[in-house]
């Protein structure tokens, strides 16, 4: 019972922080007075140093040029740093430089907010790159997603315009006023709970057996804070938040869980405050929560069942399927976390998703396939926006008017973009998996190194990899060995496509809608802030996702599930 209370408390606290945070975020972006105004001299200094005029408004294309340019620069910077880290200071464990392949994959992974890791931090990264590359990218990639979403906010103010605010302004303020202060606060909580924050190298301890064991440590707390707050998910250690230094106890577990949830929730409410349509926000939040519950409840249910295979071994399974889960968190909190981290594109893990029951694994997959129930920092709402446009179109026709969203007509151009973004998800995830499977089929012996579990589960592992990378989630079914040429490059490509096209698409739509006449509401207008419309949106999300992935899921998790019993 306490376990259930724990997860309800996490949800409650996340909501209790998320809603006021949303109000605050709306204030930050609209430039209203807020209590962080004392930081504006620093922001002004940054703008002056960079030669940016934060009041100069951009159209959507200029926004995208700005976004892509700075992302490109970070990518080159990260590649350079990772490939040369052997020579840097702050490398007490003398970790080697990354290979170009691995550096490519890692740079893209952190730049795109994915944090897919084909390496383990303790052996493959220096403290300098952990801080100046990985933690740095965790801040800026989160801020990029948030700034991109503000472009959409601006498109639906009550005026016709192509001026949608200044990208750099939103980007810098996302960091100085939202991400940095909250991260700082979270890191303090972690420090008090024993999370390391040091530049010293490996420590040596003598175990009870009398063995000498070297234990990795480093500047962990600072990274783990933004890792969750910015929905990044890339761990300091290979074992991620299952590692005792990265997630020492139930309290830090709660903190990390809540930290990754608050900004996605806040952005939904910020939208409502910003464009003064709070009811719309509540409906969107309701749809997302409904989706989340429908994923998390079966997961917890099936994880609480006993695995028939382990039962046959004569092992007691009173607390459910504990394989791959940490005793200090328990089955329920781990199952709950696994869905939170997959609906939101964090991808940090406190248990091994590979070891979940087939249905649990399928729910994680579905969460990432939708990727719009809360979703990542800023980008979750962007993904939701695409579903919204398709729903508005179908529902709008059904009430006998040219479909319109917040008074703007949805026409061929917007449909084209929305369809292309949806299509792309399918091409990358299913196409990528198909190529991997095809390669594996054509020569199972030479590709045997990829999979630790062949059979249905091996298929799920490959499907999971592409799904997670395209969703910019970064969690993995750990059975897949990703540090091979194919997975490094294919994964890198999937992450890039999965990051930028779902940003550019919705913003292009918003840019086009912003320039359209605003049609005043009448009795004949389809309102998007009603319960009915919320249900239709949910149905559209559910049916499109199910239609796209049902056959694949049949061959993976479902085949495994039905074969188990």
């Amino acid at each position: 019972m306490t376990e259930y209370f724990g997860i309800i408390a996490m949800f409650g606290i996340a909501l209790a922080i998320g809603i006021p945070l949303g109000k605050y975020i709306a204030k930050v972006y609209s430039g209203e007075k807020n209590f962080m105004d004392f930081i504006s001299p620093i922001e002004k200094l940054i703008f002056r140093l960079c030669g940016i005029n934060p009041d100069k408004e951009m159209d959507w294309k200029q926004h995208m040029v700005a976004l892509l340019t700075i992302n490109m620069i970070w990518f080159l910077y990260a590649m350079f740093m990772l490939m040369t880290q052997k020579y840097h200071f702050w490398n007490p464990d003398n970790n080697p430089s990354m290979s170009p392949e691995l550096a490519f994959n890692t740079s893209i992974s952190f730049m795109t907010n994915t944090n897919w890791q084909n390496y383990s931090g303790e052996g493959s990264a220096s403290y300098l790159t952990q801080i100046a590359v990985l933690t740095f990218l965790q801040f800026v990639s989160a801020a990029t997603g948030m700034a991109a979403l503000v472009v959409i906010f601006n498109a639906f103010r009550d005026k016709v315009t192509d001026k949608l605010g200044n990208f750099y302004n939103y980007f810098v303020k996302s960091i100085t006023r939202i991400l940095l202060p909250i991260s700082f606060f979270i890191a303090i909580i972690f420090l008090f709970n024993g999370m390391p924050q040091t530049f010293k190298g490996k420590d040596t301890i003598k175990t009870l057996h009398g063995d000498i064991v070297k234990v990795s440590r480093g500047p962990v707390a600072s990274m783990v804070a933004i890792k969750h707050l910015g929905t990044n998910g890339g761990g300091f250690f290979g074992a991620n938040s299952a590692h005792p230094f990265e997630n020492p106890n139930y309290l830090t577990n709660m903190t990390e869980m809540i930290a990754q949830w608050i900004i996605p929730i806040a952005m939904v409410f910020a939208f409502g405050y910003y464009i003064k349509r709070k009811k719309l926000s509540r409906i969107i939040f309701g749809v997302m929560t409904l989706g989340f519950l429908l994923l998390v409840i079966p997961t917890i249910y099936y994880e609480m069942q006993r695995s028939p295979i382990i039962t046959k071994m004569g092992i007691n399974q009173l607390s459910g399927n504990m394989e791959g889960k940490e005793v200090r968190f328990g089955t329920i909190a781990s199952a709950f976390w696994s869905i939170v981290t997959t609906v939101i594109s964090t991808g940090s893990v406190n248990s091994m998703h590979d070891s979940f029951t087939p249905i649990g694994g399928m729910m994680q997959l579905l969460a990432m396939m939708v990727n719009a129930f809360y979703g990542g920092c800023g980008v979750g709402m962007l993904n939701y926006f695409i579903f919204l446009i398709i729903t508005v179109f179908i529902a709008g026709l059904m009430v006998g008017r040219t479909p319109e969203f917040l008074g703007r007509k949805i026409e061929a151009k917007e449909m084209k973009i929305a369809v292309m973004v949806t299509l792309l998800a399918s091409v990358v995830v299913k196409g990528g998996t198909a190529i991997a499977v095809f390669l594996y089929n054509s020569n199972p012996v030479s590709h045997a190194v990829w999979l630790t579990n062949p059979s249905y589960h091996g298929f799920s592992e490959m499907l999971y990899a592409f799904t997670s990378e395209f969703a910019n989630n970064g969690s993995s079914f750990a059975g897949l060995n990703g540090n091979t040429r194919f997975w490094n490059f294919a994964g890198g490509l999937a992450m890039i496509l999965g990051r930028y096209l779902p940003i550019i698409g919705p913003i292009a739509i918003a840019g086009s809608l912003a320039g359209k006449k605003v049609i005043p509401e009448s009795a004949g207008t389809l309102r998007t802030d009603t319960l009915t419309f919320g249900i239709v949106t949910f149905a559209v999300i559910f049916i499109t996702t199910a239609l796209l992935f049902f056959p694949a899921l049949c061959l993976g998790p479902l085949a495994e599930h039905f074969s188990l019993n």
Partner: protein, 679 residues
């Protein structure tokens, strides 16, 4: 209104035959390419045909028996035919409707007026734009034109179905004549205003015929969505092949193509163009000629309707409703005076005064024997009678009579001014009657609001359409009638440019405006309006400016047009929803069937308990095929529009077509599977 329009049954034999032939002609891939969804089905049929042949040649191809493969091929082929048939049927019906109009304009001789003043008899098809011809009583008008000289009564029943003749004359707003109509009296000189083959009717016929049909904006957007779904399912099916290989589950081509065809939205894909054509056809049936399909679609989006008061909201003319004697005039004498002054007044108002007077008292007609009747003139703005005994009676507008009274050196009493104001405030029009420069009393004229119009406005309000009354009346009268009829706004003392300005100001607020007009004065406003409906009796300029022409000249037609537009969109939306919702059940039929042989555990997903994988696949494709003809009636008739507010409408349609769309195929596929089991 009497219309001699015949109701054509949905599956009339003539159309069935025409549709049947056309559905084969439309198999031409070039034509099919216009419809990406059905094109892929045709391609799939071809692949299946090849596979079927292979199964004859090679018994061990692993693709199943020839009979099974051929059955699938046949069903896919029929699916394409059904879709073609739907389109062809809609076209045939539209064409028949247009033909019946076109029949009216068979070749007729025309009296062409040559430059030298002589008349040459030519064929109507030889007339060019700008030519002038003459038509006399008993002759047919050879082509569309505008009267430049004369006045005639014309029988337009061939086009409108309205049997009462109408008056058309040069100069006014009723100068347009249509080819095929018959002149009943008098003689008119008409200038040809259209090029042969470019009349509205010609354009309309082209719109319902496939060849020139342009897709409308909403239809394009929907086609993109459907093409997107089709591509998504191509990816689903193509990637399924390696996935299945990994699980050592060979999938037959038949199964893969069946899965694909069942998943892509063939239902809406097959019916989409039929829905569009049927929408135009419905407009045509309402005797409205549209210049583009887009106009019909836009009509569904209209936010503001501009309606002329006279003829739309009120029955044509004002009627006398009351006599108010003032200054102590004897009531009976006053009524007599009113009647005398109206004896020569041919206007409907004048007639109504006499009518009302007769019901109130005995009129002493002999009193005005030998009197001189003064007709109404724009200068004096009054009419009346000069009786031989020297009495001069005048009736007219308040201002006009005041002038007469004041010129006579008399005072205009408070009582009169007060009464005039009172009548005006109640929406009436006061006519003041004076005798020898002294006011006798006031006649009250009232507009009669059309029965049932208030309910129609109520219906429009629920649709979210704002109604605006346009009238030349003063503000007080306009306000009163607007209130009584239940319109949302009004433009009083309207000049032609007021309409234009009002439309512009609404449009800058983002609203779509529709109006109806007939005069040349209306042309700029008709052009400015998003949906401008010109009356067929109107001037050529008005007809050119609008994007629809109403053959019935019925001002309330706008309301019907809005509903036709909405119905068109709703039909598309609901059938799309239905089509996509169908996929859920089809998945549960086909996907287990694909894998059961190698992964028996997936039998658990066969929730319909279909007999065998092959019968499951067959049932799904058969259901997928027959649902198209089953929905043809709905596509052609259109889903009924109900003005119950957007949210309620969405709920309703969602329940029927969304949930119905999920449930129907579960039942249908199971039934077909049971039927197949009988063989």
């Amino acid at each position: 209104m009497k219309r001699n329009r015949k109701k054509i049954s949905l599956f009339d034999r003539r159309f069935m035959k025409e549709g049947f032939i056309q559905s084969f002609i439309k198999l031409n891939p070039k034509i099919m390419l216009k419809n990406p969804v059905m094109f892929t089905v045709e391609a799939g049929t071809l692949v299946m045909l090849i596979v079927s042949v292979i199964t004859i040649l090679n018994k061990n191809s692993g693709q199943g028996s020839f009979a099974y493969n051929f059955a699938i091929t046949l069903i896919l082929f029929i699916t394409v035919l059904f879709a073609n048939f739907a389109e062809a049927l809609a076209e045939a019906r539209g064409k028949a409707q247009a033909e019946s109009l076109r029949k009216a304009r068979h070749e007729t001789p025309a009296n062409l007026l040559l430059n030298n003043g002589k008349i040459k008899i030519v064929n109507s098809s030889e007339l060019k734009k700008g030519d002038i011809f003459i038509v006399s009583a008993g002759e047919y008008i050879p082509t569309d034109g505008e009267i430049i000289e004369g006045l005639a009564s014309i029988d337009e029943s061939a086009i409108t179905g309205e049997s009462a003749p109408v008056i058309r004359e040069a100069g006014g707003d009723k100068s347009g004549v249509t080819g095929g109509t018959k002149v009943l009296s008098d003689k008119i000189k008409v200038v040809v205003t259209i090029q042969q083959g470019e009349s509205f009717l010609d354009k309309m016929i082209a719109l319902v015929e496939g060849a020139n049909r342009q897709k409308t904006p909403n239809e394009i957007a929907l086609t993109i969505l459907l093409a997107g779904f089709t591509m998504l399912f191509i990816i689903v099916c193509v990637t399924l092949e390696p996935f299945a290989n990994y699980s050592k589950t060979p999938i037959t081509v038949a199964a893969l193509i069946s899965l694909f065809v069942c998943l892509i939205p063939t239902t809406i894909g097959g019916l989409l163009s039929a829905i569009g054509i049927a929408g135009m056809d419905r407009a045509l049936r309402a005797n409205v000629i549209t210049k583009s399909g887009k106009a019909v679609e836009t009509a569904g989006d209209v936010d503001v309707l501009l309606l002329d008061k006279t003829g739309t909201i009120t029955i044509g003319n004002r009627k006398a409703t009351n006599f108010f004697p003032v200054n102590g005039t004897d009531g009976s004498y006053f009524i007599n005076a009113c009647a005398w002054s109206s004896f020569s007044d041919d206007t409907p108002e004048g007639k109504s005064i006499i009518e009302l007077a007769k019901t109130k008292t005995n009129i002493n007609s002999s009193h005005v024997a030998g009197a001189k009747f003064i007709k109404f003139s724009a200068e004096t703005r009054s009419s009346g009678v000069d009786i031989p005994d020297g009495t001069r009676i005048r009736k007219g507008a308040f201002e006009a009579i005041r002038k007469i009274v004041e010129n006579a050196g008399n005072e205009f009493s408070e009582e009169v001014s007060f009464k005039v104001l009172e009548i005006t405030e109640n929406g009436g029009t006061p006519l003041v009657v004076a005798e020898n420069g002294k006011v006798l009393g006031i006649i009250e004229l009232q507009d009669i609001i059309k029965p049932g119009i208030t309910e129609r406005f109520d219906r429009l309000r629920k649709m979210g359409v704002k109604t605006v009354m346009v009238t030349g009346d003063n503000k007080l009268t306009a306000k009163y009638i607007a209130y009584k009829a239940g319109v949302d706004d009004f433009i009083a003392e309207a000049k032609p440019e007021d309409k234009l300005n009002y439309i512009r100001s609404e449009q800058t607020k983002g609203k779509l405006v529709s109006m109806m007009g007939d005069g040349t004065n209306d042309a700029p406003a008709l052009a400015q309006a998003d949906v401008g409906v010109a009356m067929n009796s109107g001037t050529q300029a008005a007809k050119e400016a609008g994007n629809m022409v109403d053959l019935d000249n019925d001002p309330t037609k706008l309301i019907e047009i809005v509903e036709i537009g909405k119905q068109l969109l709703i039909t598309r939306g609901t059938l799309t929803t239905f089509s996509i919702a169908n996929d859920v059940a089809k998945y549960f039929a086909i996907v287990p069937a694909l894998f059961i042989n190698s992964i028996p555990a997936l039998q658990a997903l066969n929730i319909m308990h279909l007999a065998s994988p092959q019968s499951a696949i067959l049932s799904a494709v058969i259901f997928n095929a027959i649902i198209i003809p089953l929905l043809i009636p709905l596509a052609l008739k259109g889903v009924k529009y109900r003005p119950i507010g957007a949210s309620a409408l969405l709920r309703r349609n969602l329940l029927i077509y969304g949930f119905g769309g999920i449930a129907a195929p579960f039942i249908g596929i199971k039934l077909i599977d049971m039927l197949i089991g009988l063989f």
